[in-house]
């Protein structure tokens, strides 16, 4: 396998950044990381995962869709779509890498979302295998192996060297473009590291969590469960879980009158919000119970029902650590699952 020593990683970053935009996770505060556009001298974070997920690269929080200009009685529509430039996201974890597949199902099925598609086509995802999972991790519940992270290129770290494995033609091209900096290396230690990580995963407090009780076929049963009232009782209806979630994909489209024209843009929306999908007649879900139920039903029941059993959660654990009142999908699953 091709490898680069840890000490040369920044040289590699410099090389990548010469040709295209490179994003890497960097520490904002100790062990709190966020993706930043790479600039020479930046150090890759050692934190397990970024606070915000990597979905931002393909589905940003706000995005302009079109512009209109009204003059007199005529409306001029301006198509503002343009080809994106190539970019690389480095250090994506297995959970986030899986989330792209989930987002793809939403945005790339007909009608295709051209903004999303454009970004996907121009983005190369370089993943990073996990070695030190946290107690909030439960990706294995959804069949994700964090030691084989996927993406266009998988990167593994054995403590000294980073190993590169391309998974797609785009990944192959990426590795080829930097191959002169890489060297063939002995990946024998990797298997040991991976095995070690897998063992840790089994010891994690949430390792026993299972999706067996969920899926499309259990729709009415879960929908009518009497547990929702208690579960949703303390929910404040903020959108933190939604906005840190790598798979939440709901958005609202709005027009903004700049005074010199209209900008139509979309922005993330949260099914937890009281004005989510508000229509002329009002809201479709009027109580926080209904809204709360919607979010988890969507991830655990509706999504798999429409997508061959694939769940809408990747077990990254962000909502577990960020919910202001510590209510989360794990507690929901445990409450609803067959005992």
């Amino acid at each position: 396998m091709l490898k680069i020593s840890a000490s040369n990683l920044n040289a590699l970053f410099d090389r990548i950044a010469e040709k295209q935009t490179l994003y890497i996770p960097v520490d904002r505060e100790p062990n709190v990381s966020e993706y930043k556009k790479y600039e020479s001298g930046m150090t890759m974070s050692k934190a397990l995962n970024t606070v915000r997920s990597a979905k931002d690269f393909f589905f940003p929080q706000t995005e302009n869709l079109a512009e209109f200009k009204v003059s007199g009685k005529t409306i001029e529509v301006k198509d503002i779509r343009k080809e994106n430039e190539d970019f690389v996201v480095f250090g994506v974890r297995a959970c986030d890498a899986r989330s792209f597949g989930i987002l793809d199902k939403v945005f790339l099925s007909e009608p295709v979302d051209s903004f999303y598609k454009n970004r996907r086509e121009h983005g190369t995802i370089v993943t990073m295998a996990c070695t030190r999972p946290a107690e909030t991790c439960f990706c294995t519940t959804f069949g994700i192996d964090p030691t084989v992270p996927g993406g266009d290129v998988s990167v593994f770290f054995d403590g000294e060297n980073y190993f590169f494995l391309d998974n797609t033609p785009k990944g192959e091209a990426f590795v080829a473009s930097v191959s002169d900096m890489l060297e063939d290396g002995d990946a024998s230690k990797l298997a040991e590291v991976q095995e070690n990580t897998r063992n840790i995963m089994k010891k994690l407090p949430l390792s026993g969590l299972s999706t067996d009780s969920f899926g499309g076929e259990r729709l009415m049963e879960h929908f009518n469960s009497d547990k929702w009232a208690e579960l949703s009782e303390s929910c404040f209806g903020c959108g933190t879980c939604t906005f840190v979630c790598p798979t939440c994909q709901c958005y609202d489209i709005r027009d903004f009158d700049t005074g010199n024209g209209i900008k139509r843009f979309r922005c993330w929306d949260s099914c937890m919000y009281s004005d989510f999908t508000k229509m002329a007649h009002g809201n479709s879900r009027n109580s926080q119970l209904e809204r709360f139920r919607q979010r988890f039903m969507h991830k655990l029941v509706y999504f798999p029902a429409n997508n061959n059993g694939e769940f809408g959660c990747v077990g990254c654990g962000r909502c577990l650590s960020k919910c202001p009142i510590s209510m989360n999908i794990v507690k929901v699953m445990k409450a609803l699952e067959d005992k």
Binding site: G239, D269, S326
Partner: protein
């Protein structure tokens, strides 16, 4: 302490003083406690928890709970009692329907501060004589208790319960806190430095509304930012202006009403020090219009619905130190 609270809660349930108990429910880990309403002694025995992590301010829940059938027991930390009082003052909580027990407050621990040390895989946290013993799947770690104290407790303003029907443990006093130090530090910066500081902070905002929704002063039936008729509604900040706008207006709307409970900063997933905006207003109000602590009582006039004919002119802002 937890035992005393459980005992008293069960007594009050049993004698019919209350029919529900607002408390905290234990979670998956040692630290994730969730505010919950308990209706039976069994539920309390099973799930009730009160420990170093039970930080959440429960007063906001009482808006709804106090409008339900029967009386509810609220266990309020000193800081929560200020929020509670303020909500009673604004006619949001029906006081008669709440039985308030004042309970000792913090300092509470912020799990994020433990995690910031690189400690992960946490399975248990024990406080052994103000040294935290943190059990993880990677082994046991220790750190001094005070290094993990949450930001809101670091600058605790008061250990006094301003409202209660009874107390568990001892009542405390208003403290001489250092809560305005950071505000002052910012005030002493140049305008450009302050601008850069706040851009750095506020640009991280993801408009998840956690700060607003958790805030006991933000209890509007319909927030102006959710109301298309207000003309300033927004779901996400499409421009840095909207980031500023949201936080300025939010801070302004709670000015004179914010009790400085610190929940906004606690819940911010992006760790934006939002409490500094509120404290700036509090500091200004204290300096310009006389000491005022929102929630300290239910009768005094709030600084923004009051005035003196000899109030200072806005030029005080323009005349302050250097730009």
């Amino acid at each position: 302490m937890q035992e005393a609270m459980i005992k008293r809660a069960k007594e009050l349930l049993a004698d019919g003083t209350v029919n529900r108990v607002m408390g905290w429910k234990k979670g998956e880990f040692a630290y994730d406690t969730t505010p919950a309403v308990f209706e039976t002694a069994e539920e309390i025995d099973r799930d009730f928890i009160y420990n170093d992590f039970t930080q959440a301010n429960q007063s906001k829940y009482l808006i709804k709970e106090s409008r339900k059938e029967g009386k509810i027991l609220a266990l309020l930390k000193p800081c929560d009692t200020y929020s509670f009082n303020q909500l009673v003052k604004e006619h949001r909580i029906i006081r008669e329907n709440v039985y308030v027990i004042g309970i000792p407050g913090g300092p509470k621990i912020d799990i994020e501060k433990i995690k910031a040390k690189g400690i992960t895989g946490i399975t248990n946290v024990k406080n052994e004589d103000y040294t935290l013993k943190i059990e993880t799947i990677y082994g046991v770690e220790t750190m001094p208790f005070y290094e993990a104290v949450s930001v809101k407790c670091e600058s605790c303003k008061s250990k006094k319960h301003v409202v209660y029907d009874e107390l568990i443990g001892e009542g405390g006093d208003i403290l001489d806190s250092n809560r305005f130090d950071m505000v002052e530090k910012l005030e002493n910066m140049t305008s450009q430095e302050r601008y850069d500081f706040w851009r750095g902070e506020l640009s991280r905002c993801i408009r998840c509304n956690a700060c607003r929704n958790v805030c006991p002063a933000c209890t509007c039936e319909n927030c102006v930012f959710d109301n298309p008729k207000s003309g300033i509604d927004q779901k996400a900040a499409a421009d840095s202006f909207e980031e500023n706008m949201f936080h300025i207006i939010r801070a302004f709307h709670v000015a004179g009403r914010c009790t400085d409970c610190g929940e906004c900063s606690r819940v911010c997933p992006q760790n934006i020090p939002l409490h500094l905006l509120n404290r700036k207003f509090i500091k200004d109000i204290n300096c310009l219009y006389g000491e005022y602590q929102a929630g300290a009582d239910t009768t005094s006039k709030a600084p923004l619905t009051d005035y003196r004919t000899d109030d200072c002119e806005p030029s005080v802002v323009h005349e302050r130190g250097a730009e």
